[in-house]
Symmetry: C2
Subunit: 333 residues, 2 copies
Protein backbone atom coordinates (compact mmCIF):
# COMPACT_ATOMS: atom_id res chain seq x y z
CA UNK A 1 0.00 0.00 0.00
CA UNK A 2 1.42 3.39 -0.96
CA UNK A 3 1.29 6.01 1.75
CA UNK A 4 0.99 9.38 0.11
CA UNK A 5 2.38 12.38 1.98
CA UNK A 6 0.29 14.85 3.95
CA UNK A 7 -0.50 17.81 1.66
CA UNK A 8 -2.85 19.75 3.94
CA UNK A 9 -3.35 20.09 7.68
CA UNK A 10 -6.28 21.15 9.85
CA UNK A 11 -5.25 22.83 13.09
CA UNK A 12 -7.44 23.67 16.07
CA UNK A 13 -5.68 25.64 18.77
CA UNK A 14 -2.15 24.20 18.90
CA UNK A 15 -3.14 20.63 17.95
CA UNK A 16 -3.08 19.12 14.45
CA UNK A 17 -6.67 17.89 14.43
CA UNK A 18 -6.93 16.34 10.95
CA UNK A 19 -4.68 15.89 7.95
CA UNK A 20 -5.10 15.17 4.27
CA UNK A 21 -2.77 12.99 2.22
CA UNK A 22 -2.49 13.17 -1.50
CA UNK A 23 -0.63 12.80 -4.75
CA UNK A 24 0.60 15.66 -6.92
CA UNK A 25 2.72 15.91 -10.02
CA UNK A 26 4.13 18.69 -12.21
CA UNK A 27 4.99 17.64 -15.77
CA UNK A 28 5.94 18.86 -19.23
CA UNK A 29 3.87 18.20 -22.35
CA UNK A 30 6.29 15.46 -23.36
CA UNK A 31 5.69 13.68 -20.07
CA UNK A 32 8.83 14.58 -18.14
CA UNK A 33 8.13 14.80 -14.42
CA UNK A 34 9.44 18.07 -12.98
CA UNK A 35 8.32 17.36 -9.41
CA UNK A 36 6.18 14.75 -7.69
CA UNK A 37 4.62 13.96 -4.32
CA UNK A 38 3.08 10.55 -3.75
CA UNK A 39 2.35 8.35 -6.75
CA UNK A 40 1.96 9.92 -10.22
CA UNK A 41 0.79 6.51 -11.52
CA UNK A 42 -2.26 6.62 -9.24
CA UNK A 43 -5.42 5.84 -11.24
CA UNK A 44 -8.06 8.51 -10.69
CA UNK A 45 -11.26 9.99 -12.01
CA UNK A 46 -10.46 13.59 -13.01
CA UNK A 47 -14.11 14.50 -12.46
CA UNK A 48 -14.73 18.15 -13.38
CA UNK A 49 -11.03 18.90 -13.73
CA UNK A 50 -11.31 17.28 -17.20
CA UNK A 51 -13.94 19.70 -18.50
CA UNK A 52 -11.56 21.56 -20.80
CA UNK A 53 -10.60 18.19 -22.31
CA UNK A 54 -14.26 17.24 -22.67
CA UNK A 55 -14.80 20.55 -24.48
CA UNK A 56 -12.07 19.98 -27.10
CA UNK A 57 -14.33 18.10 -29.59
CA UNK A 58 -16.88 20.94 -29.40
CA UNK A 59 -14.30 23.28 -30.92
CA UNK A 60 -12.32 20.81 -33.04
CA UNK A 61 -15.42 19.54 -34.81
CA UNK A 62 -16.39 22.99 -36.03
CA UNK A 63 -19.59 22.82 -33.96
CA UNK A 64 -18.58 25.82 -31.86
CA UNK A 65 -17.78 27.95 -34.88
CA UNK A 66 -20.92 26.86 -36.78
CA UNK A 67 -22.94 28.02 -33.77
CA UNK A 68 -20.95 31.22 -33.36
CA UNK A 69 -19.88 30.34 -29.83
CA UNK A 70 -17.71 32.96 -28.23
CA UNK A 71 -15.11 33.03 -25.51
CA UNK A 72 -17.69 33.19 -22.72
CA UNK A 73 -19.38 30.05 -24.08
CA UNK A 74 -16.02 28.28 -24.08
CA UNK A 75 -15.46 29.29 -20.45
CA UNK A 76 -18.91 28.01 -19.49
CA UNK A 77 -18.20 24.70 -21.24
CA UNK A 78 -15.20 24.31 -18.90
CA UNK A 79 -17.07 25.52 -15.81
CA UNK A 80 -18.20 24.03 -12.51
CA UNK A 81 -20.26 27.10 -11.84
CA UNK A 82 -22.26 28.41 -8.90
CA UNK A 83 -25.56 28.58 -10.80
CA UNK A 84 -25.61 32.36 -10.53
CA UNK A 85 -27.48 34.54 -13.01
CA UNK A 86 -24.17 35.20 -14.83
CA UNK A 87 -23.98 31.45 -15.50
CA UNK A 88 -27.56 30.35 -16.04
CA UNK A 89 -28.65 33.24 -18.29
CA UNK A 90 -26.02 32.69 -21.00
CA UNK A 91 -26.48 28.91 -20.87
CA UNK A 92 -30.24 29.37 -21.29
CA UNK A 93 -29.62 31.67 -24.28
CA UNK A 94 -27.14 29.22 -25.75
CA UNK A 95 -29.56 26.30 -25.56
CA UNK A 96 -32.34 28.43 -26.96
CA UNK A 97 -30.15 29.44 -29.92
CA UNK A 98 -29.75 25.73 -30.65
CA UNK A 99 -33.55 25.51 -30.87
CA UNK A 100 -33.50 23.33 -27.74
CA UNK A 101 -34.94 23.54 -24.24
CA UNK A 102 -33.80 23.10 -20.68
CA UNK A 103 -35.45 19.68 -20.72
CA UNK A 104 -33.01 18.58 -23.44
CA UNK A 105 -30.21 18.77 -20.87
CA UNK A 106 -29.32 15.49 -19.18
CA UNK A 107 -27.40 16.82 -16.16
CA UNK A 108 -30.21 16.92 -13.60
CA UNK A 109 -31.26 19.85 -11.42
CA UNK A 110 -29.08 21.21 -8.62
CA UNK A 111 -29.65 23.77 -5.90
CA UNK A 112 -27.32 26.64 -6.92
CA UNK A 113 -24.35 27.43 -4.69
CA UNK A 114 -24.88 31.10 -5.45
CA UNK A 115 -26.82 32.61 -2.54
CA UNK A 116 -28.74 35.30 -4.48
CA UNK A 117 -29.85 32.69 -7.05
CA UNK A 118 -30.92 30.34 -4.26
CA UNK A 119 -32.86 33.07 -2.47
CA UNK A 120 -34.54 34.16 -5.71
CA UNK A 121 -35.73 30.60 -6.39
CA UNK A 122 -37.07 30.33 -2.85
CA UNK A 123 -38.83 33.69 -3.04
CA UNK A 124 -40.51 32.55 -6.27
CA UNK A 125 -41.27 29.10 -4.88
CA UNK A 126 -39.52 27.67 -7.96
CA UNK A 127 -37.40 24.50 -7.74
CA UNK A 128 -33.90 24.66 -9.27
CA UNK A 129 -33.65 23.40 -12.85
CA UNK A 130 -30.93 21.81 -14.93
CA UNK A 131 -29.54 25.24 -15.87
CA UNK A 132 -28.49 25.59 -12.22
CA UNK A 133 -26.48 22.36 -12.38
CA UNK A 134 -22.83 23.37 -12.03
CA UNK A 135 -22.13 21.41 -15.25
CA UNK A 136 -24.85 23.02 -17.40
CA UNK A 137 -22.28 24.77 -19.62
CA UNK A 138 -20.50 21.50 -20.34
CA UNK A 139 -23.84 19.92 -21.19
CA UNK A 140 -24.78 22.82 -23.46
CA UNK A 141 -21.53 22.03 -25.24
CA UNK A 142 -22.49 18.35 -25.47
CA UNK A 143 -25.88 19.32 -26.96
CA UNK A 144 -24.15 21.60 -29.47
CA UNK A 145 -21.73 18.90 -30.56
CA UNK A 146 -24.48 16.24 -30.70
CA UNK A 147 -26.64 18.43 -32.91
CA UNK A 148 -23.68 19.25 -35.15
CA UNK A 149 -22.97 15.51 -35.53
CA UNK A 150 -26.64 14.75 -36.20
CA UNK A 151 -26.63 12.37 -33.22
CA UNK A 152 -29.50 11.41 -30.88
CA UNK A 153 -30.56 13.18 -27.68
CA UNK A 154 -28.99 10.78 -25.14
CA UNK A 155 -25.57 12.35 -25.27
CA UNK A 156 -24.50 10.94 -21.88
CA UNK A 157 -24.53 7.39 -23.26
CA UNK A 158 -20.86 6.31 -23.30
CA UNK A 159 -21.41 4.93 -26.84
CA UNK A 160 -22.97 8.19 -28.10
CA UNK A 161 -20.88 10.00 -30.75
CA UNK A 162 -20.38 12.93 -28.35
CA UNK A 163 -18.82 10.71 -25.67
CA UNK A 164 -16.85 8.73 -28.25
CA UNK A 165 -15.32 12.02 -29.39
CA UNK A 166 -14.68 13.07 -25.77
CA UNK A 167 -12.99 9.76 -25.02
CA UNK A 168 -10.79 9.98 -28.11
CA UNK A 169 -9.65 13.51 -27.20
CA UNK A 170 -9.15 12.55 -23.55
CA UNK A 171 -7.02 9.51 -24.41
CA UNK A 172 -4.99 11.44 -26.92
CA UNK A 173 -4.29 14.29 -24.50
CA UNK A 174 -3.47 12.04 -21.52
CA UNK A 175 -1.48 9.70 -23.75
CA UNK A 176 -3.25 6.75 -22.15
CA UNK A 177 -5.96 4.26 -23.05
CA UNK A 178 -8.55 4.87 -20.34
CA UNK A 179 -9.24 1.63 -18.48
CA UNK A 180 -12.87 2.63 -17.88
CA UNK A 181 -15.28 5.25 -16.71
CA UNK A 182 -17.53 6.13 -13.82
CA UNK A 183 -20.83 7.98 -13.99
CA UNK A 184 -20.30 11.54 -12.84
CA UNK A 185 -22.58 13.65 -10.65
CA UNK A 186 -24.01 15.18 -13.85
CA UNK A 187 -24.52 11.69 -15.39
CA UNK A 188 -21.83 12.06 -18.09
CA UNK A 189 -19.21 9.31 -18.22
CA UNK A 190 -15.97 10.35 -16.52
CA UNK A 191 -13.01 8.48 -17.97
CA UNK A 192 -10.24 7.39 -15.63
CA UNK A 193 -6.52 8.01 -16.16
CA UNK A 194 -3.37 8.23 -14.09
CA UNK A 195 -2.64 11.43 -12.21
CA UNK A 196 0.40 11.89 -14.46
CA UNK A 197 -1.76 11.40 -17.57
CA UNK A 198 -4.06 14.17 -16.39
CA UNK A 199 -1.09 16.47 -15.71
CA UNK A 200 0.35 15.72 -19.16
CA UNK A 201 -2.99 16.66 -20.75
CA UNK A 202 -2.83 19.97 -18.86
CA UNK A 203 0.76 20.57 -19.99
CA UNK A 204 -0.41 20.01 -23.59
CA UNK A 205 -3.22 22.52 -23.04
CA UNK A 206 -0.50 24.89 -21.80
CA UNK A 207 1.55 24.42 -24.99
CA UNK A 208 -0.85 24.49 -27.94
CA UNK A 209 2.19 24.74 -30.21
CA UNK A 210 2.81 21.08 -29.32
CA UNK A 211 -0.60 20.11 -30.76
CA UNK A 212 -1.66 19.45 -34.34
CA UNK A 213 -4.36 20.85 -36.61
CA UNK A 214 -7.69 21.93 -35.17
CA UNK A 215 -6.67 20.83 -31.68
CA UNK A 216 -4.07 23.55 -31.44
CA UNK A 217 -6.64 26.32 -31.91
CA UNK A 218 -9.19 24.53 -29.71
CA UNK A 219 -6.78 24.17 -26.78
CA UNK A 220 -5.62 27.76 -27.12
CA UNK A 221 -9.18 29.10 -27.26
CA UNK A 222 -10.31 27.11 -24.21
CA UNK A 223 -7.36 28.13 -22.04
CA UNK A 224 -7.73 31.75 -23.08
CA UNK A 225 -11.45 31.61 -22.31
CA UNK A 226 -10.85 30.21 -18.81
CA UNK A 227 -8.25 32.88 -18.10
CA UNK A 228 -10.43 35.66 -19.54
CA UNK A 229 -13.54 34.66 -17.55
CA UNK A 230 -12.51 33.41 -14.11
CA UNK A 231 -15.96 34.14 -12.64
CA UNK A 232 -17.71 32.12 -15.35
CA UNK A 233 -15.55 29.07 -14.62
CA UNK A 234 -16.67 28.93 -10.96
CA UNK A 235 -18.11 32.04 -9.26
CA UNK A 236 -17.88 34.51 -6.40
CA UNK A 237 -15.73 33.26 -3.54
CA UNK A 238 -14.64 30.10 -5.33
CA UNK A 239 -11.02 28.94 -5.39
CA UNK A 240 -10.81 28.54 -9.19
CA UNK A 241 -12.06 32.06 -9.82
CA UNK A 242 -9.96 33.69 -7.11
CA UNK A 243 -6.74 31.87 -7.94
CA UNK A 244 -7.06 32.53 -11.69
CA UNK A 245 -7.80 36.21 -11.07
CA UNK A 246 -4.85 36.43 -8.67
CA UNK A 247 -2.47 34.79 -11.18
CA UNK A 248 -3.33 37.58 -13.63
CA UNK A 249 -3.62 35.43 -16.74
CA UNK A 250 -0.59 33.25 -16.07
CA UNK A 251 -2.55 30.14 -15.03
CA UNK A 252 -5.82 28.38 -15.76
CA UNK A 253 -6.88 26.18 -12.84
CA UNK A 254 -9.81 23.85 -12.38
CA UNK A 255 -11.19 21.88 -9.47
CA UNK A 256 -12.78 18.45 -9.65
CA UNK A 257 -14.94 16.59 -7.16
CA UNK A 258 -13.31 14.22 -4.66
CA UNK A 259 -10.21 16.31 -4.14
CA UNK A 260 -8.84 16.80 -7.67
CA UNK A 261 -7.27 20.05 -8.88
CA UNK A 262 -5.37 20.83 -12.09
CA UNK A 263 -3.41 23.78 -13.43
CA UNK A 264 -2.44 24.82 -16.96
CA UNK A 265 0.67 27.03 -16.95
CA UNK A 266 1.37 28.47 -20.42
CA UNK A 267 4.40 30.57 -19.39
CA UNK A 268 6.03 27.63 -17.66
CA UNK A 269 4.86 25.17 -20.35
CA UNK A 270 3.80 22.89 -17.50
CA UNK A 271 0.75 21.03 -16.25
CA UNK A 272 -0.14 20.17 -12.66
CA UNK A 273 -2.55 17.54 -11.36
CA UNK A 274 -3.24 16.66 -7.74
CA UNK A 275 -5.61 14.32 -5.97
CA UNK A 276 -6.34 14.33 -2.26
CA UNK A 277 -6.63 10.69 -1.23
CA UNK A 278 -9.74 11.26 0.88
CA UNK A 279 -11.50 13.45 -1.67
CA UNK A 280 -11.69 16.64 0.38
CA UNK A 281 -11.92 20.00 -1.35
CA UNK A 282 -10.56 22.10 1.54
CA UNK A 283 -7.30 20.19 1.07
CA UNK A 284 -7.11 20.23 -2.74
CA UNK A 285 -7.61 23.99 -2.73
CA UNK A 286 -4.88 24.53 -0.12
CA UNK A 287 -2.46 22.29 -2.03
CA UNK A 288 -3.09 23.92 -5.42
CA UNK A 289 -2.61 27.41 -3.96
CA UNK A 290 0.70 26.24 -2.48
CA UNK A 291 1.92 24.82 -5.80
CA UNK A 292 1.08 28.09 -7.58
CA UNK A 293 3.14 29.90 -4.93
CA UNK A 294 5.93 27.34 -5.31
CA UNK A 295 6.13 28.02 -9.04
CA UNK A 296 6.19 31.78 -8.54
CA UNK A 297 2.75 32.43 -10.04
CA UNK A 298 1.46 33.90 -6.81
CA UNK A 299 3.05 35.65 -3.86
CA UNK A 300 2.68 33.66 -0.65
CA UNK A 301 1.09 36.65 1.06
CA UNK A 302 -1.37 37.41 -1.75
CA UNK A 303 -4.84 37.35 -0.17
CA UNK A 304 -6.06 34.71 -2.67
CA UNK A 305 -3.12 32.46 -1.78
CA UNK A 306 -3.35 33.04 1.95
CA UNK A 307 -7.08 32.45 2.00
CA UNK A 308 -6.54 28.89 0.75
CA UNK A 309 -3.13 28.09 2.24
CA UNK A 310 -3.88 29.32 5.74
CA UNK A 311 -7.63 29.46 5.81
CA UNK A 312 -9.10 30.61 9.13
CA UNK A 313 -11.75 28.35 10.66
CA UNK A 314 -14.36 30.47 12.44
CA UNK A 315 -17.05 29.03 14.72
CA UNK A 316 -20.70 29.92 15.17
CA UNK A 317 -19.85 32.92 17.32
CA UNK A 318 -17.22 34.05 14.80
CA UNK A 319 -14.37 33.06 17.07
CA UNK A 320 -11.21 31.89 15.30
CA UNK A 321 -10.75 28.22 16.29
CA UNK A 322 -8.00 27.16 13.91
CA UNK A 323 -6.67 27.01 10.36
CA UNK A 324 -6.65 24.80 7.29
CA UNK A 325 -3.08 24.93 5.98
CA UNK A 326 -1.10 23.68 3.02
CA UNK A 327 1.72 21.38 4.13
CA UNK A 328 5.13 23.07 4.18
CA UNK A 329 6.61 20.32 1.97
CA UNK A 330 4.69 21.80 -0.97
CA UNK A 331 6.57 25.07 -0.46
CA UNK A 332 10.04 23.99 0.64
CA UNK A 333 12.69 23.36 -2.03
CA UNK B 1 5.11 9.26 10.51
CA UNK B 2 2.46 6.69 11.35
CA UNK B 3 0.35 5.53 8.45
CA UNK B 4 -3.03 4.53 9.78
CA UNK B 5 -4.96 1.86 7.86
CA UNK B 6 -7.78 2.59 5.45
CA UNK B 7 -11.08 2.30 7.37
CA UNK B 8 -13.50 3.41 4.65
CA UNK B 9 -13.53 3.43 0.87
CA UNK B 10 -15.39 5.47 -1.73
CA UNK B 11 -16.08 3.59 -4.95
CA UNK B 12 -17.34 4.99 -8.24
CA UNK B 13 -18.09 2.33 -10.82
CA UNK B 14 -15.34 -0.27 -10.41
CA UNK B 15 -12.64 2.17 -9.30
CA UNK B 16 -11.68 3.03 -5.73
CA UNK B 17 -12.00 6.80 -6.05
CA UNK B 18 -11.14 7.96 -2.52
CA UNK B 19 -10.20 6.36 0.78
CA UNK B 20 -10.18 7.34 4.43
CA UNK B 21 -7.53 6.28 6.91
CA UNK B 22 -8.06 6.25 10.60
CA UNK B 23 -7.38 4.99 14.09
CA UNK B 24 -9.77 2.87 16.16
CA UNK B 25 -9.55 1.09 19.49
CA UNK B 26 -11.78 -1.14 21.59
CA UNK B 27 -10.94 -1.21 25.31
CA UNK B 28 -12.10 -2.27 28.75
CA UNK B 29 -12.73 0.14 31.62
CA UNK B 30 -9.41 -0.85 33.15
CA UNK B 31 -7.62 0.14 29.97
CA UNK B 32 -6.93 -3.24 28.39
CA UNK B 33 -6.92 -2.99 24.60
CA UNK B 34 -9.18 -5.64 23.07
CA UNK B 35 -8.55 -4.63 19.47
CA UNK B 36 -6.82 -1.76 17.70
CA UNK B 37 -6.29 -0.30 14.25
CA UNK B 38 -3.72 2.44 13.76
CA UNK B 39 -2.42 4.27 16.81
CA UNK B 40 -4.43 4.28 20.07
CA UNK B 41 -1.97 6.84 21.49
CA UNK B 42 -3.01 9.38 18.83
CA UNK B 43 -3.82 12.73 20.47
CA UNK B 44 -7.23 13.99 19.37
CA UNK B 45 -10.02 16.40 20.15
CA UNK B 46 -13.09 14.27 20.93
CA UNK B 47 -15.31 17.16 19.86
CA UNK B 48 -18.99 16.29 20.39
CA UNK B 49 -18.24 12.66 21.14
CA UNK B 50 -17.32 13.85 24.66
CA UNK B 51 -20.74 15.36 25.41
CA UNK B 52 -21.75 12.63 27.85
CA UNK B 53 -18.51 13.27 29.74
CA UNK B 54 -19.16 17.03 29.70
CA UNK B 55 -22.62 16.28 31.15
CA UNK B 56 -21.33 14.27 34.12
CA UNK B 57 -20.86 17.29 36.46
CA UNK B 58 -24.43 18.42 35.72
CA UNK B 59 -25.72 15.24 37.35
CA UNK B 60 -22.96 14.63 39.91
CA UNK B 61 -23.25 18.13 41.35
CA UNK B 62 -26.93 17.69 42.17
CA UNK B 63 -27.80 20.49 39.71
CA UNK B 64 -29.85 18.16 37.52
CA UNK B 65 -31.85 16.81 40.43
CA UNK B 66 -32.35 20.26 41.99
CA UNK B 67 -33.84 21.39 38.67
CA UNK B 68 -35.91 18.20 38.25
CA UNK B 69 -34.22 17.31 34.99
CA UNK B 70 -35.53 14.11 33.46
CA UNK B 71 -34.19 11.50 31.10
CA UNK B 72 -35.01 13.55 27.99
CA UNK B 73 -33.02 16.49 29.38
CA UNK B 74 -30.07 14.18 29.96
CA UNK B 75 -30.30 12.95 26.36
CA UNK B 76 -30.39 16.53 25.07
CA UNK B 77 -27.33 17.41 27.16
CA UNK B 78 -25.47 14.63 25.27
CA UNK B 79 -26.93 15.57 21.87
CA UNK B 80 -25.61 16.96 18.59
CA UNK B 81 -29.14 17.50 17.41
CA UNK B 82 -30.75 18.54 14.13
CA UNK B 83 -32.48 21.60 15.58
CA UNK B 84 -35.90 20.08 14.99
CA UNK B 85 -38.94 21.08 17.03
CA UNK B 86 -38.44 17.96 19.22
CA UNK B 87 -35.06 19.38 20.19
CA UNK B 88 -35.57 23.13 20.35
CA UNK B 89 -38.90 23.11 22.21
CA UNK B 90 -37.69 21.18 25.28
CA UNK B 91 -34.42 23.14 25.38
CA UNK B 92 -36.40 26.39 25.30
CA UNK B 93 -38.62 25.15 28.14
CA UNK B 94 -35.57 24.03 30.12
CA UNK B 95 -33.87 27.42 29.86
CA UNK B 96 -37.10 29.17 30.69
CA UNK B 97 -37.52 27.01 33.81
CA UNK B 98 -34.08 28.24 34.90
CA UNK B 99 -35.43 31.79 34.65
CA UNK B 100 -33.03 32.39 31.75
CA UNK B 101 -33.38 33.32 28.09
CA UNK B 102 -32.06 32.18 24.74
CA UNK B 103 -29.62 35.09 24.87
CA UNK B 104 -27.99 33.55 27.95
CA UNK B 105 -26.72 30.72 25.76
CA UNK B 106 -23.17 31.12 24.46
CA UNK B 107 -23.23 28.57 21.62
CA UNK B 108 -24.12 30.88 18.71
CA UNK B 109 -26.91 30.44 16.18
CA UNK B 110 -26.91 27.65 13.58
CA UNK B 111 -29.13 26.90 10.61
CA UNK B 112 -30.92 23.70 11.68
CA UNK B 113 -30.17 20.48 9.77
CA UNK B 114 -33.81 19.51 10.16
CA UNK B 115 -35.58 20.41 6.91
CA UNK B 116 -39.03 21.21 8.38
CA UNK B 117 -37.45 23.50 10.99
CA UNK B 118 -35.40 25.20 8.29
CA UNK B 119 -38.41 25.69 6.05
CA UNK B 120 -40.49 27.02 8.94
CA UNK B 121 -37.83 29.63 9.75
CA UNK B 122 -37.67 30.66 6.11
CA UNK B 123 -41.44 30.90 5.80
CA UNK B 124 -41.49 33.15 8.88
CA UNK B 125 -38.51 35.17 7.68
CA UNK B 126 -36.88 34.41 11.06
CA UNK B 127 -33.14 33.79 11.39
CA UNK B 128 -32.08 30.68 13.33
CA UNK B 129 -31.27 31.28 17.00
CA UNK B 130 -29.01 29.63 19.54
CA UNK B 131 -31.67 27.03 20.36
CA UNK B 132 -31.11 25.62 16.86
CA UNK B 133 -27.40 25.15 17.54
CA UNK B 134 -26.80 21.39 17.58
CA UNK B 135 -25.16 21.82 21.01
CA UNK B 136 -27.99 23.81 22.66
CA UNK B 137 -28.82 20.94 25.04
CA UNK B 138 -25.23 20.74 26.24
CA UNK B 139 -25.25 24.48 26.79
CA UNK B 140 -28.55 24.33 28.68
CA UNK B 141 -26.74 21.85 30.91
CA UNK B 142 -23.82 24.26 31.33
CA UNK B 143 -26.26 27.06 32.28
CA UNK B 144 -27.94 24.77 34.80
CA UNK B 145 -24.67 23.78 36.41
CA UNK B 146 -23.39 27.35 36.40
CA UNK B 147 -26.51 28.61 38.14
CA UNK B 148 -26.33 25.77 40.67
CA UNK B 149 -22.72 26.68 41.44
CA UNK B 150 -23.59 30.38 41.68
CA UNK B 151 -21.05 31.12 38.96
CA UNK B 152 -21.04 33.89 36.35
CA UNK B 153 -22.63 33.91 32.92
CA UNK B 154 -19.50 33.26 30.80
CA UNK B 155 -19.59 29.51 31.24
CA UNK B 156 -17.43 28.84 28.14
CA UNK B 157 -14.42 30.44 29.79
CA UNK B 158 -11.96 27.58 30.38
CA UNK B 159 -11.40 28.91 33.92
CA UNK B 160 -15.12 29.09 34.72
CA UNK B 161 -16.27 26.68 37.46
CA UNK B 162 -18.42 24.81 34.90
CA UNK B 163 -15.45 24.10 32.63
CA UNK B 164 -13.20 23.34 35.59
CA UNK B 165 -15.71 20.67 36.64
CA UNK B 166 -15.93 19.37 33.05
CA UNK B 167 -12.17 19.15 32.79
CA UNK B 168 -11.89 17.30 36.11
CA UNK B 169 -14.52 14.73 35.08
CA UNK B 170 -12.98 14.40 31.62
CA UNK B 171 -9.48 13.78 32.98
CA UNK B 172 -10.74 11.35 35.57
CA UNK B 173 -12.72 9.33 33.03
CA UNK B 174 -9.98 9.28 30.37
CA UNK B 175 -7.35 8.60 33.03
CA UNK B 176 -5.17 11.28 31.48
CA UNK B 177 -4.10 14.84 32.22
CA UNK B 178 -5.35 16.73 29.17
CA UNK B 179 -2.45 18.54 27.49
CA UNK B 180 -4.74 21.34 26.34
CA UNK B 181 -7.94 22.39 24.69
CA UNK B 182 -9.28 23.83 21.46
CA UNK B 183 -12.29 26.08 21.05
CA UNK B 184 -15.17 24.02 19.69
CA UNK B 185 -17.71 25.04 17.05
CA UNK B 186 -20.07 25.98 19.90
CA UNK B 187 -17.31 28.01 21.66
CA UNK B 188 -16.92 25.63 24.64
CA UNK B 189 -13.39 24.41 25.34
CA UNK B 190 -12.81 20.90 23.98
CA UNK B 191 -10.12 19.09 25.95
CA UNK B 192 -7.72 16.84 24.07
CA UNK B 193 -6.87 13.25 25.02
CA UNK B 194 -5.53 10.13 23.37
CA UNK B 195 -7.89 7.99 21.32
CA UNK B 196 -7.40 5.25 23.89
CA UNK B 197 -8.22 7.64 26.74
CA UNK B 198 -11.49 8.50 25.05
CA UNK B 199 -12.30 4.81 24.58
CA UNK B 200 -11.49 4.09 28.24
CA UNK B 201 -13.89 6.86 29.28
CA UNK B 202 -16.58 5.20 27.16
CA UNK B 203 -15.84 1.79 28.70
CA UNK B 204 -16.24 3.37 32.15
CA UNK B 205 -19.57 4.85 31.04
CA UNK B 206 -20.49 1.29 29.98
CA UNK B 207 -19.65 -0.10 33.43
CA UNK B 208 -21.04 2.29 36.03
CA UNK B 209 -20.35 -0.41 38.63
CA UNK B 210 -16.66 0.48 38.13
CA UNK B 211 -17.35 4.07 39.20
CA UNK B 212 -17.61 5.61 42.66
CA UNK B 213 -20.25 7.67 44.42
CA UNK B 214 -22.39 10.13 42.50
CA UNK B 215 -20.52 9.39 39.28
CA UNK B 216 -21.94 5.88 39.17
CA UNK B 217 -25.53 7.11 39.07
CA UNK B 218 -24.65 9.98 36.72
CA UNK B 219 -22.99 7.70 34.15
CA UNK B 220 -25.81 5.20 34.33
CA UNK B 221 -28.47 7.88 33.90
CA UNK B 222 -26.73 9.49 30.93
CA UNK B 223 -26.20 6.21 29.06
CA UNK B 224 -29.77 5.12 29.73
CA UNK B 225 -31.03 8.51 28.51
CA UNK B 226 -29.08 8.26 25.24
CA UNK B 227 -30.37 4.74 24.65
CA UNK B 228 -33.95 5.67 25.57
CA UNK B 229 -34.03 8.76 23.29
CA UNK B 230 -32.05 8.06 20.13
CA UNK B 231 -33.90 10.76 18.19
CA UNK B 232 -33.12 13.41 20.80
CA UNK B 233 -29.40 12.63 20.62
CA UNK B 234 -29.26 13.42 16.86
CA UNK B 235 -32.43 13.29 14.73
CA UNK B 236 -34.23 11.82 11.72
CA UNK B 237 -31.86 10.15 9.28
CA UNK B 238 -28.79 10.63 11.44
CA UNK B 239 -26.28 7.83 12.06
CA UNK B 240 -26.32 8.11 15.87
CA UNK B 241 -30.10 7.83 16.06
CA UNK B 242 -30.39 5.04 13.50
CA UNK B 243 -27.55 2.95 14.89
CA UNK B 244 -28.76 3.26 18.50
CA UNK B 245 -32.30 2.36 17.49
CA UNK B 246 -31.02 -0.60 15.49
CA UNK B 247 -28.90 -1.87 18.39
CA UNK B 248 -32.07 -2.05 20.48
CA UNK B 249 -30.65 -0.64 23.69
CA UNK B 250 -27.37 -2.53 23.60
CA UNK B 251 -25.21 0.43 22.58
CA UNK B 252 -25.01 4.18 23.03
CA UNK B 253 -23.07 5.81 20.18
CA UNK B 254 -22.06 9.39 19.55
CA UNK B 255 -20.46 11.22 16.66
CA UNK B 256 -18.02 14.10 16.93
CA UNK B 257 -16.88 16.61 14.33
CA UNK B 258 -13.75 15.91 12.27
CA UNK B 259 -14.33 12.18 11.99
CA UNK B 260 -14.67 11.04 15.60
CA UNK B 261 -17.16 8.38 16.72
CA UNK B 262 -17.51 6.58 20.07
CA UNK B 263 -19.57 3.70 21.41
CA UNK B 264 -20.57 2.69 24.94
CA UNK B 265 -21.33 -1.04 25.14
CA UNK B 266 -22.80 -1.99 28.53
CA UNK B 267 -23.35 -5.70 27.73
CA UNK B 268 -19.81 -6.12 26.47
CA UNK B 269 -18.41 -3.81 29.17
CA UNK B 270 -16.39 -2.13 26.43
CA UNK B 271 -15.78 1.29 24.95
CA UNK B 272 -14.89 2.17 21.36
CA UNK B 273 -13.31 5.32 19.99
CA UNK B 274 -12.32 6.00 16.40
CA UNK B 275 -10.92 8.99 14.53
CA UNK B 276 -10.75 9.34 10.77
CA UNK B 277 -7.42 11.02 10.02
CA UNK B 278 -8.92 13.43 7.49
CA UNK B 279 -11.94 14.32 9.61
CA UNK B 280 -14.66 13.02 7.29
CA UNK B 281 -18.03 11.99 8.70
CA UNK B 282 -19.01 9.65 5.84
CA UNK B 283 -16.03 7.52 6.88
CA UNK B 284 -16.48 7.65 10.66
CA UNK B 285 -20.10 6.53 10.28
CA UNK B 286 -19.15 3.63 8.02
CA UNK B 287 -16.39 2.52 10.38
CA UNK B 288 -18.56 2.70 13.51
CA UNK B 289 -21.35 0.69 11.86
CA UNK B 290 -18.78 -1.95 10.91
CA UNK B 291 -17.42 -2.19 14.46
CA UNK B 292 -20.94 -2.64 15.85
CA UNK B 293 -21.42 -5.47 13.34
CA UNK B 294 -18.03 -6.91 14.27
CA UNK B 295 -19.03 -7.06 17.93
CA UNK B 296 -22.37 -8.70 17.14
CA UNK B 297 -24.53 -5.73 18.13
CA UNK B 298 -25.96 -5.41 14.66
CA UNK B 299 -26.52 -7.84 11.79
CA UNK B 300 -24.47 -6.94 8.74
CA UNK B 301 -27.60 -6.87 6.58
CA UNK B 302 -29.62 -4.73 8.99
CA UNK B 303 -30.77 -1.67 6.99
CA UNK B 304 -29.20 0.70 9.54
CA UNK B 305 -25.86 -1.11 9.21
CA UNK B 306 -25.99 -1.45 5.42
CA UNK B 307 -26.96 2.17 4.95
CA UNK B 308 -23.67 3.27 6.56
CA UNK B 309 -21.39 0.37 5.61
CA UNK B 310 -22.33 0.27 1.93
CA UNK B 311 -23.96 3.61 1.39
CA UNK B 312 -25.17 4.19 -2.17
CA UNK B 313 -24.03 7.40 -3.84
CA UNK B 314 -26.76 8.74 -6.12
CA UNK B 315 -26.23 11.58 -8.58
CA UNK B 316 -28.44 14.50 -9.59
CA UNK B 317 -30.57 12.33 -11.84
CA UNK B 318 -30.85 9.67 -9.11
CA UNK B 319 -28.50 7.30 -10.90
CA UNK B 320 -26.40 5.07 -8.65
CA UNK B 321 -22.77 6.08 -9.27
CA UNK B 322 -20.99 4.24 -6.48
CA UNK B 323 -20.78 3.36 -2.79
CA UNK B 324 -19.17 4.51 0.44
CA UNK B 325 -18.02 1.33 2.18
CA UNK B 326 -16.46 0.29 5.44
CA UNK B 327 -13.11 -1.42 4.90
CA UNK B 328 -13.28 -5.21 5.16
CA UNK B 329 -10.47 -5.24 7.74
CA UNK B 330 -12.95 -3.86 10.29
CA UNK B 331 -15.10 -6.95 9.78
CA UNK B 332 -12.59 -9.74 9.22
CA UNK B 333 -11.31 -11.68 12.23
Amino acid sequence: MTNPPVLAEVWRGDLLESQHRGHAVIVTASGDIVEQWGDPAKLIYPRSSAKMLQALPLLESGAAQANRLESHHHALACASHNGAEIHTAPVAEWISALGLRESDLRCGPQVPDDAPARHALRAQGTPPCQLHNNCSGKHAGFLTLGQHLGAGPEYNDPEHPVQAAVRAAFEDMTGEISPGYGIDGCSAPNFSCTLKGLAVAMAKMATPESLQGSRRAAAEALVQAMIAHPLLVAGEGRACSELMAACGGRAAVKTGAEGVFVAILPEHKLGIALKIEDGTTRASEAAMAALLVRLGLLERDHPAAERRMKRPVMNRRDILTGHIRAAELLLSP
